[in-house]
């Protein structure tokens, strides 16, 4: 039986995996809440959800910049990400503020010291200079500048959060604390009536935003915000919110279509199994059957926590009624949802003669009262049910379309059924136990859509969206090791048109390799365990001082290339040459370099031995530069 006989495919689907660590007590290096919001938004937009609003951050963020000693200009430059803008700051730079434009075209103000301010390099100057960029800078004590940022009502990326990601280059001792958040987006699913047959007028507004990560009353350190989801069903006769579902720390999977979005923890980092109460969030507007017997034009449900074949932690709505119930509610009522399937009423599965399971359309019903009929409302798009059991997250690929098992075991009935949901993954393989025969099928009336199986596939393990390009430096946001069997991890870095280097992440120290590439790995990678690691790649100028087109491929052994980002790394900037291990080679004297589109000639400086400069005079940072012989 063709899959299309039992599955109603939606016009669009998207799939993604991502990790949340959010800087909790572990000070994690994974996707913080803002970054997770970013990724989720991208996934939903890929399945035809629309962004209808954004949520500005509220409150403020304070950052304690510890500067034990102000020494010289070349060691006192800071790069600060304010959620919607990127600032590069050097308290010793006396030139007017410059603007750097990243590959996406977004301007990054570069903050210098206000003209005429003297002396340079004091804490007061640090505070004053940062204020130009929109911060409120105050000096605290003899070594600390407190920077406070407030929302300025500008939509940006990273969840519109006020989070400060500080990349201290030089003497910055790093973040000490930060605080509030709240930014995000409102994303809207597609009403079925807008696309084809059926006519479910309900749709979801899903707010993807951040909240502070507070543990034991303390706001966690930088990056400690958490991604939260708030579903609001829209339509007549009822609208209702399900709010503040916070994604737990772990590896997550998101499957979205025009009509639903499904989040599932594939590997909670907090330990335990997959049946923790916070491992699922699912918003669905079923495909309705256009029949007077059915009598519906509005139906939607949201499941929270563990999803099982039977009702469990379910909130739902149905036309004419508004029902909100939870399993085990104090009044003894049991509301929920259920999928219709052949049931044995015994512990064994229902199969067909030779052992294959029975595949059936995923028709969902809502339960109203104990002992009463359940109310059929419609079909779940991109899904089918199976009378055999497969573990959650298992993969099956019937007819070349990847499906994920998203149901759990009914621990009471011990029944062995599975709900499969098309995930839009490409090149997946699995051993899901699917039957080869279906039944005769039922009338459904819901329109089939065009299958988009792979175009919308996303991956954020590591998250390419989080790959940031800093002057002279590429920082890969995360490299996630989901199991110890994936060790060692390697990162392949290639300069377009040039050689490719593969560097194993084996230590927590800088590793020099040929052709002037340095890899720094943060975290103990000698014995990789499940967690998140950050790698920093510095590009040295030996190959000629020019803007470099760089492609970074993040490669996980056993899984292949799992993410990449290409961009232009400009060598312009005051700090590019003085990162540890970098050097200005004397052999470059007399050769041209290209900085931000301007050609300079490297020449000996008149200020002493082993010092070079450029001609015509370039930025301060390129004047009188020491070089290695």
């Amino acid at each position: 039986m063709p899959l299309s006989d039992i599955v109603n495919f939606s016009p669009h689907r998207a799939f993604g995996t991502f990790s949340t660590l959010g800087g909790g007590l572990s000070g994690g290096l994974g996707l913080n809440g803002s970054e997770a919001c970013d990724f989720i938004k991208t996934a939903l937009l890929g399945s035809n959800w629309q962004q209808i609003d954004w949520v500005p951050a509220t409150g403020y963020v304070q950052f304690f910049l510890n500067i034990p000693t102000i020494t010289s200009g070349i060691y006192d430059t800071f790069a600060i990400w304010l959620g919607y803008a990127f600032y590069i700051f050097n308290p010793f730079a006396t030139t007017p503020p410059l603007t750097y434009t990243d590959p996406s075209g977004r301007a990054w103000p570069v903050v210098g010291v206000p003209a005429g301010t003297t002396p340079l390099g004091t804490l007061e100057n640090v505070a004053n200079a940062m204020s130009i960029g929109g911060f409120i800078g105050t000096v605290s004590g003899t070594q600390t500048v407190i920077l406070t940022a407030q929302s300025i009502g500008v939509e940006g990326t990273k969840g519109n959060n006020l989070q400060l990601d500080v990349t201290g280059i030089g003497i910055c001792n790093g973040p000490a604390s930060n605080a509030t958040s709240g930014g995000g987006w409102v994303l809207q699913s597609t009403p079925e009536s807008d696309t084809s047959a059926g006519g479910n007028t309900a749709y979801f507004n899903l707010t993807v935003a951040t909240i502070p990560n507070v543990v034991d009353g303390l706001v966690q350190n930088n990056g400690g915000d958490r991604c939260t989801l708030s579903a609001h069903v829209v339509g007549t006769p009822s609208s209702q919110d399900v709010t503040n579902y916070t994604l737990a720390e772990g590896n997550w999977m998101v499957i979205s279509s025009d009509y639903d979005v499904y989040f599932f923890t594939t590997e909670p980092f907090g330990g335990g199994d997959l049946y923790l109460g916070n491992n699922t969030f699912w918003c669905v507007t079923p495909l309705l059957v256009p029949s007077s017997d059915v009598g519906l034009n509005f139906a939607a449900f949201v499941t929270l926590g563990e999803f099982q074949e039977g009702p469990y932690d379910v909130a739902f709505w149905v036309a004419g009624d508004y029902l909100l119930g939870y399993w085990g509610s104090p009044d003894g009522t049991h509301f929920g949802l259920s999928l219709n399937i052949y049931r044995f009423e015994g512990p064994q599965p229902v199969t067909i003669e030779e052992g294959q399971s029975v595949l059936m359309p995923a028709i969902v019903s809502f339960t109203a009262m104990a002992g009463q009929p359940t109310t059929l409302v419609g079909y779940i798009a991109n899904a089918f049910v199976d009378t055999a059991y497969d573990a959650p997250y298992d993969i099956a690929v019937p007819e070349g379309i990847t499906f994920r098992a998203i149901s759990g075991v009914d621990s009471y009935l011990n029944t062995t059924h599975t709900l499969w949901l098309a995930s839009a993954e490409s090149n997946a393989s699995g051993t899901g136990n699917l039957g080869v025969q279906g039944n005769g099928g039922f009338g459904n009336g819901a329109g089939n859509g065009v299958i988009q199986n792979s175009d919308n596939t996303l991956s954020a393990t590591p998250n390419p969206l989080n790959l940031t390009v800093v002057t002279g430096q590429i920082t890969s946001g995360v490299v996630t090791v989901s199991t110890s069997s994936q060790t060692p991890i390697s990162i392949t870095c290639s300069i377009t048109g040039g050689p490719t280097f593969t560097i194993l992440m084996v230590t927590n120290t800088s590793v020099s390799v040929a052709q002037s590439v340095i890899i720094q790995v943060q975290g103990d990678a000698t014995s990789l365990v499940p967690g998140t690691y950050t790698a920093v790649l510095d590009i040295e100028p030996d190959g000629g001082l020019a803007d470099l087109a760089v492609t970074v491929n993040l490669y996980v052994n056993g899984a292949g290339t799992v993410g990449s980002l290409s961009g232009i790394v400009s060598i312009y900037g005051p700090t590019v040459y003085w990162i540890s291990g970098d050097h200005f080679d004397v052999s470059m004297i007399g050769n041209p370099i290209v900085i931000a589109g301007q050609t300079y000639i490297v020449q000996a400086s008149g200020f002493g031995p082993n010092v070079i400069t450029v001609s015509p005079a370039g930025p301060d940072a390129l004047q009188n530069v020491p070089y290695n012989t």
């Binding site: 059915v294 009423e345 029975v358 009935l413």
Partner: protein
């Protein structure tokens, strides 16, 4: 998309007036069966529990070529305190397989009417408006026949599946008089979800594939259901569309090979379909190209309907699984 039926013709629905004797009732049954595709083989006498009874052997042949004998016999000693009953027993053609002997008690009351829905490879027998004395059985449509080879197709095109040579099922008396068992006249599935569970006398039900008769395999018509609660076995519920319509689904016959094995669907019952709704017994409705009579009496969790008359040509050869 409409449901696929397994159809065998001719088909008929007959209501017998009150019969004056057990022999008359058996004669009416045999007459109805032979008029609708069953082939008379022989009459015979045989000893049942030390009593010699008379009977008629008929041969059923399914559209796929499967065969089985049905022996309809007088059971004058009857069961328990009931002295007269119709005996129903299936026997394999050349395989030696024999089903349990199941009964339909004979009632001489002038108001008692019996009825039967027949096709060339199956029957559904019952008392009008009552659940007692119902028996049913026959040869189902084999979904794997086309790829495994079957009675008529032989061993051709065997793709690794066991070749099916024999396939039939039988269900004994339902109701509250005498031994009662799972029978679609009173319930689908195991009836565990019923608020008033019936007495499930399993051993009268049997399924047979390739000469292996299983009498403890919980032979049943598979039941499509939702659940209104997670928990005990009794928390299933029948799903009804929001507007009040019920859901139609294929009528599958299934049994376990052993108590720990899966409930294996062996095939689709010819000229039958299921609905999730609850209906009074013997209600007649028309849809999908056929007139149907409801065989299941007021069962909360669904109903089995038997085709009685084609009303259009659209459904013929519209088999399930293909």
């Amino acid at each position: 998309m409409t449901i696929n039926y397994a159809i065998a013709e001719p088909m008929d629905y007959a209501i017998f007036p009150p019969q004056s004797s057990l022999a008359d009732l058996i004669a009416s049954i045999v007459s109805e069966l032979t008029a609708n595709g069953w082939v008379f083989v022989t009459t015979f006498t045989a000893v049942y529990n030390t009593h010699t009874e008379t009977g008629t052997r008929l041969l059923a042949t399914s559209p796929q070529g499967y065969e089985v004998y049905l022996e309809v016999t007088t059971q004058t000693t009857g069961i328990s305190s009931y002295p007269n009953a119709v005996g129903w027993q299936l026997k394999g053609v050349g395989t030696g397989s024999v089903s349990p002997l199941v009964y339909s008690q004979f009632d001489t009351l002038s108001s008692t009417q019996y009825q039967i829905v027949v096709c060339p490879c199956g029957w559904f027998f019952s008392r009008v408006g009552a659940t007692a004395d119902a028996t049913c059985g026959g040869i189902p449509y084999d979904p794997l026949a086309n790829i495994s080879g079957s009675g008529a197709a032989g061993a051709a095109c065997n793709l690794g599946y066991a070749v099916t040579t024999e396939l039939w099922w039988i269900m004994g008396q339902s109701g509250d008089a005498g031994p009662s068992t799972i029978n679609p006249r009173s319930s689908l599935g195991l009836n565990l979800g019923s608020t008033v569970p019936g007495f499930t006398f399993q051993s009268q039900n049997a399924g047979c594939r390739n000469g292996v008769v299983v009498t403890n395999g919980l032979c049943q018509v598979t039941q499509l259901s939702a659940v209104w609660n997670e928990g005990t076995l009794g928390f299933i519920s029948q799903p009804i569309w929001y507007g009040g319509a019920d859901l139609e689904y294929p009528a599958f016959i299934a049994w376990q090979d052993n108590p720990s094995g899966p409930l294996a669907i062996r095939g689709q019952i010819y000229n039958a379909t299921c609905r999730t709704g609850q209906y009074v017994a013997d209600l007649i409705k028309t849809w999908g190209g056929y007139q149907w009579v409801n065989y299941t009496s007021d069962y909360f969790f669904g109903s089995l309907w038997c085709a009685t008359t084609p009303v259009s040509s659209g459904g013929l050869n519209n088999y399930a699984f293909v």
